[in-house]
Symmetry: C2
Subunit: 218 residues, 2 copies
DNA sequence: TTGCCTTAAACTGCATGCAGGTTACCGGCG
DNA sequence: CGCCGGTAACCTGCATGCAGTTTAAGGCAA
């Protein structure tokens, strides 16, 4: 692990970003215990900014940190996963509803283009990575288009939590299924149909929710 | 201001609680700049736990804290207030919907009792304080009854933000109006009518949203 | 007076030392 | 062989010193 200093002024922010990415990419496994001292050594900083960063991550729900004990990368029960998806359905469902009458045509076109590329080349070697990028762009764009900064931020938080636990290997079939659901959402947005957009998004997330809860293994 | 040491192990948690309460009670005004040094002296602790607490509050959105600058108690624009209520409508509306088929009769009865007490004695000297307690119990109970820990937590966060900016003196008339709306929600819950509960909650918050945005003064 | 510039005081972020509390290893006992 | 207890290493939370930045006060010019 290596410190990534973007344009952060505070060292503690850089540490936060670094640890966040490490967790989301699975380089820090769920349930793993990490000590401030060890992280500080790895990142070549003192314990202070590491301590700060861990407290921020604890507030995000990505780390559990009890007093006087080392931090533990959060692990989730099946109930947690279910609950996180419940929140995504509430928040992203509402975002889709609002985005239907607000999302810009050029954003829509860009999403269509990305999806078309993916569908056109299902055998590409980095297909899954590209799909993840598309998924990210797709959900972020809808969240942003809803026009509420706090809604977008909360959606981002729950998608982050989701990625933090996304260790199970999703099959290509599941992704193809998700793709079809994305397409349905895009169509509803294109038609500026708020109700249909809402329903399509809920349906999409419900499918993933069932999939994740079913394939959940500690 | 005085440090309240509940059963917190960490000093920084105690400082967090203390500052949180100070902000929510208006003892730290919005826009006020506070220095870690000054707070540390007031609370008789070193700067370290104060620093920690301020970063947590920043993550809650109650404090703005740029690098190398003193912390500023968050102030909100009219758009912020509108946005916070949008989130409350989304989250608490959904909570009411779910609570309709889940809330326990004894909880419902307790809420009814509190409301009855308030209605019976509208001239009590501490009526407004008691109303605030009731409002808190009311919304918290519904949030809890929805059965999603994360939904409850997010609702709590936005209600906290709301209280943080609730500096304008609400009139007794407005509270009476809110009381009637609460009654409507209770009736819908009592009837186990999810749709009506949802609508009543949204209606209630919409009323407050309009009220707050209208009476907003920097 | 008003505005600007200089400069000293004040403040934050980070490193580090210390005082507890926690963890883990190891030997002894059952 | 497993379990327990003691002890030593380790770790966290807090205090404090330092370096670099921000803030604010005072003086000078217009």
């Amino acid at each position: 692990m290596r410190l990534r200093v973007k344009s952060d002024i505070r060292l503690s922010d850089a540490v936060y970003e670094t640890l966040l990415e490490a967790i989301l990419r699975g380089r820090l496994a769920t349930g793993e215990v990490v000590s401030e001292v060890a992280l500080a050594q790895k990142l070549q900083v003192s314990r202070t900014p590491v301590h700060d960063a861990l407290r921020q991550l604890a507030k995000d729900g990505l780390v559990r940190q009890e007093a006087n004990r080392r931090a533990v990368i959060a692990s989730f029960t099946a109930e947690d996963i279910y609950d996180i998806f419940e929140m995504r359905k509430i928040l992203e469902g509402e975002a889709a509803r609002r985005a239907a009458t607000r999302i810009g045509p050029q954003v829509l076109a860009e999403l269509r283009r990305m999806m078309g590329d993916l569908k056109a080349d299902p055998e590409a070697p980095n297909w899954i990575t590209r799909w993840a990028d598309f998924d990210d762009a797709f959900h972020s764009a809808i969240a942003a288009a809803a026009g509420s900064p706090r809604l977008a931020q909360d959606i981002s938080r729950y998608r982050m939590l989701h990625r933090g636990i996304n260790k199970l290997s999703t099959t290509v079939e599941a992704l193809q299924q998700a793709m079809a659901e994305h397409e349905a959402i895009l169509e509803a947005l294109d038609a500026r149909n708020a109700k249909a957009s809402h329903a399509a998004m809920i349906n999409h997330l419900q499918g993933w929710q069932a999939y994740f809860v079913r394939h959940f293994r500690k």
